[in-house]
Subunit: 175 residues, 3 copies
């Protein structure tokens, strides 16, 4: 797989759909030095342990892990290098973190959109599709799915490949 | 795109999936006089303003806008004319309005199903897929997604083309 | 359709997506003796009547109905026979029943996974995709969609064919 000069890959899927595993395989297949950018934050000890376990597993396979809940674009710029592959897991947690910090979502999304065509590393984004259920009664949840949906459209538009994953199976939507 | 003699088009998608934008592009590509049938009702001033803004944008591109929360089939019959394209946005808001007025859903859906094969204009329906989350605890929400699911099956069966849109990307399910 | 030597079929879809009707047609097209394995439990009279009605309809078309809320693998083994077709409707209700009885989910899923490659009958599984909405606030609902997602990955991996059904239309994900 050579996606270096084409643009990023976006892997969308539901909860426990196998989207992260599929994205990891995509990156491992590149044969490039692999960087993992985790946007999630551990809120308790159990989650810290789980994250540490995943990190150890990836480390054994040669991944370098970065953690960045908010400044996604800044970190992507800092580690951007030709021949590298970077897996971002996941966009929806980034959206959650930005909302909790009351950031300007449109500005953050625009900054990411501006970076994508300049990126020299191979970027693979993972994100949760969350807009296919009933309209949530909770206002925050409605805003969240609106932001996530907008971000997916933005990243998909700049991506060379977009996959929708269900039951561990990828469906190519673009590319 | 010539869908005039084949039957309607159904565009399904989640919240902020880009389904309406995709449907508008489909209609604009026909080169036909364009009619927009809005089924939504403005419940407050903010929503009225947003609707007015969208309407002004469409008007500048040559669209004629109609608003009809309940008598969808009646309005479709009144504006039905060969060579015209009609975008109906959206079926799920129509279902919501029918439920709030306690209409006979089966009868309403049957009336639409009966009209579709007779329609002379090019019809493009937009609707929200809402059945792919957890079963809602709220009875009304469960009924809503049952009605929406049944209506989607009815319209899809009579349609020439069905698309599923995610992240702004259309996936052809039929046609 | 000859899926006898290839492995099971998994039919995923949302609420009222037409997934069960599609799965029934798949089984009826095999021309094999047809067995229906219902995992749902009737909790009230209305549901009992609805189930009895469906059963009578299937019986008229030559189906034999079995009801088993928990011991899915045991029943599948008992009725397993070359040349037979078995429709399991549905996996998500089985997951619900297992959770209510506090069974060891991983052990149950492993037992099903072990049986699938040995099955001599043609198996068609129906299941609800429930992971594409907002993260549920309810812990039990979150666990449920995690279990369902894991089970879908397991069954899909062992399946010859996987379909995603929306608006009554099947989309082939595998096979």
């Amino acid at each position: 797989m050579d996606i270096s000069n084409l643009g990023p890959t976006l892997v969308l899927g539901g909860a426990r759909s196998g989207k992260s595993t599929f994205a990891e395989k995509l990156v491992e297949a590149t044969g490039s030095p692999m960087h993992y950018l985790a946007t999630g934050r551990a809120f308790d000890e159990e989650m810290q342990e789980r994250i540490a376990l995943h990190q150890a597993t990836r480390q054994g396979k040669g991944w370098t892990t970065h953690e960045e809940p908010l400044d996604l674009v800044g970190l992507l710029r800092r580690i951007d290098e030709p021949g590298r592959a970077v897996l971002i897991d996941c966009l929806t947690l980034w959206v959650t973190n930005l909302m909790m910090e009351e950031r300007d979502m449109a500005a953050e999304f625009a900054a990411l959109a501006a970076f994508l065509p300049e990126a020299r590393s191979r970027l693979v984004f993972v994100s949760n599709e969350v807009g296919l259920g009933i309209v949530p009664e909770n206002r925050m949840a409605r805003d969240f799915r609106d932001h996530a949906g907008r971000l997916h459209q933005i990243v998909a538009e700049k991506s060379a490949e977009v996959y929708f994953v269900a039951a561990g199976l990828p469906l190519k939507m673009k590319g």
